[in-house]
Symmetry: C2
Subunit: 186 residues, 2 copies
């Protein structure tokens, strides 16, 4: 293998997930991840700040996708419909990486610190959606509630998806319909 490292980032990600699954997150070192990927530690640190970031590096682009989709919905759309459009876009992207998402979820479910980090990530996504709605003229508490409801729908659909054959965008639509029925008192 030459100096050029094709898809170094993807290889590091795969190696890390495999090792976290085999040995546990705590027991895995950056040196082992780099070795498994056939790369150096130096290359690892060019792509990730630490071994935890391998699992959370996607959060920024997921947030960008949610916010840009929300922002591109017509101003006339009801807040919950604008949120639904954003979740559908995020769901479609994650759907393409189902196997990765499953492996990642297994690692996170086994580690309390990673679960906390995941909660913080979801809270950040909710705050970003609420900010975007406010920028579009939705007042509070409607903006916060629509964002929180959207993230709750996303999280619950995601959990179903991990153990289910259905597609994530479909599960998001079904969970949102279920939330509508629940809040309507059904």
């Amino acid at each position: 293998m030459g100096r050029w490292e094709p898809d170094a980032r993807g290889r590091l990600e795969q190696a890390a997930l495999a090792l976290y699954g085999e040995r546990g997150f705590e027991q895995t070192t950056v040196a082992e991840i780099a070795a498994r990927a056939g790369l150096t530690e130096r290359t690892f640190f060019r792509h990730f700040a630490d071994k935890r970031e391998v699992l959370f590096a996607g959060a920024g682009s997921l947030q960008d996708l949610l916010v840009s989709t929300l922002d591109s919905t017509p101003d006339s759309a009801a807040p919950i419909d604008a949120i639904a459009a954003a979740l559908a876009a995020a769901g479609a992207r994650l759907q393409e990486r189902r196997e990765y998402a499953r492996q990642r979820q297994t690692v996170i479910a086994a580690n309390a610190e990673l679960q906390e980090r995941e909660l913080i990530k979801l809270a950040s996504l909710s705050a970003a959606l609420a900010d975007t709605l406010r920028r579009r003229g939705v007042t509070d508490p409607a903006a916060s509630l629509a964002a929180e409801a959207g993230i709750a729908v996303f999280r619950i659909a995601f959990e179903l998806w991990i153990n289910d054959q259905r597609d994530l965008p479909q599960l998001i639509r079904e969970s949102l319909d279920e939330l509508k029925a629940v809040t309507a008192g059904e």
Copy 2:
């Protein structure tokens, strides 16, 4: 002051909150909290495992109140109405401690670690509500969604309450109505 320490727990709580507010949570030691309360460190540790627990010791009884109220609603109540009853009970209890709640919130807002702990507490409350609904025969995802929606309403009403003259139970009712309007597409 004699060996008998009237309301040692309450005094420690007040001393801790005052010091966290004055110096910051990180900068305050257990020795300082005990001294401010006119008590010994030994007494502190009879009541709290560490200085963080002073801020989170109430979570258990809040969860008990939510779960027992939810459990005592008629089986015929719609899940969201059962959740609303539980939130009303929790709101009424917190209302009695408004000044404490405000001080506590100021301390938590100033410290990332405490904010994370608060997120975990809310996630635990949501899980406990969902478990209780499932025990009462509500299926998933309705049980999880009703619980998550309830905790979102609670959190947002709580934030309003901290900076508002209205009562928490009233703000909880208004936020729930707002969530219903939002999910109905209004």
